[in-house]
Symmetry: C2
Subunit: 164 residues, 2 copies
DNA sequence: GTCTAACATTTTAGATTTAAAGTATCAGGG
DNA sequence: CCCTGATACTTTAAATCTAAAATGTTAGAC
């Protein structure tokens, strides 16, 4: 049986009392929101398509890049380690969903693309996936959507400069 | 060598073009922000304290609950599976950082608390951790902080009702 | 008291993920 | 050509995480 805790009011945020610092609270709320959504999507992908979020993400990146992506680009865009990408690529290639082909002018590089089979398979999932996300976030008004987007953009900019 | 991709402009959001739906974009932006912050914290905890985010999270939950928590409560608050909590608890107990003691009126339940050693160890990390988060998020103004908090609260409420 | 179902936790098996080391390729200087 | 260092990717070992099964406990129905 699945014992995963359902996320309700008892989550990361309960860690903090009111006197604690604002930034930490903001971070924990962000984490809670993301985890909640991520867990639902993960469960749905497993139940309805017998696949995982990283596999879906991998294919989604390729769908958006018709000319293909290198393994490194996939690693960057998915924000996971290179080794991880290699593993997922092995799976998907084994199932005939992607194609890893060498690039003429650089023998270190591989160009990864969706196969026709992969694209067909993905489109099916993408439609459902989008439905789930809209189901979760669609109740927010147009204005709220825009405001949150802007604020997260600001937040992203605030985080990025500390790169080094 | 660490090959983790550094998160800059090339992240989840690049997956989508402008014509795509708002909810998906919001979700991907949320994911990007969380991943960026999470990866930095993970790296810092490893470099400076030779520990991991889940271990830190485990101890943080206990620090905020002086009366202790059951394994189930920890699972809920950390938003991970029960088996996962058991594993981390074994580690921390082995290192003398936490204490798992039976509860008189319910022999199924265990009460987990930080040991003095654990609390000392944690406080050290928590101070640094808060510094890192403030470093990343502290540039946002008071007003921006509040607005994002409110919006994420709304977002959380929009997601939760679909629990079943 | 005995069943039955729910509960709290642990165990198990397997997949994912990571950081780091390893392999192969490229680019530039000498 | 031969280094050197950087780059692209894979492999490895260890930790994490999950879902499901297993174990032990409790509570309520009968």
């Amino acid at each position: 049986m699945n014992q995963k805790a359902t996320a309700t009011e008892l989550n990361h945020e309960s860690r903090l009392q009111s006197e604690d610092h604002q930034s930490i609270r903001l971070w924990l709320r962000l984490l809670t929101c993301t985890n909640m959504i991520e867990q639902r999507l993960r469960a749905r992908l497993r139940e309805e398509f017998a696949t995982t979020l990283p596999r879906f993400d991998f294919m989604a990146q390729l769908e958006r890049a018709p000319d293909g992506l290198t393994m490194g680009e996939l690693s960057q865009r998915m924000m996971v380690s290179g080794g991880n990408v290699s593993g997922i690529a092995n799976q998907l290639e084994g199932e005939g969903l992607i194609d890893r082909s060498p690039v003429p002018d650089n023998r270190r590089t591989l160009c990864v693309k969706l196969t026709d089979k992969g694209r067909t398979r993905f489109v099916d999932m993408a439609v459902a996936h989008e439905g789930w996300v809209v189901e979760m976030l669609g109740d927010l008004s147009q204005t709220e959507h825009q405001q949150i987007m802007q604020h997260l953009a600001q937040l992203k900019c605030a985080v990025v400069p500390l790169e080094g």
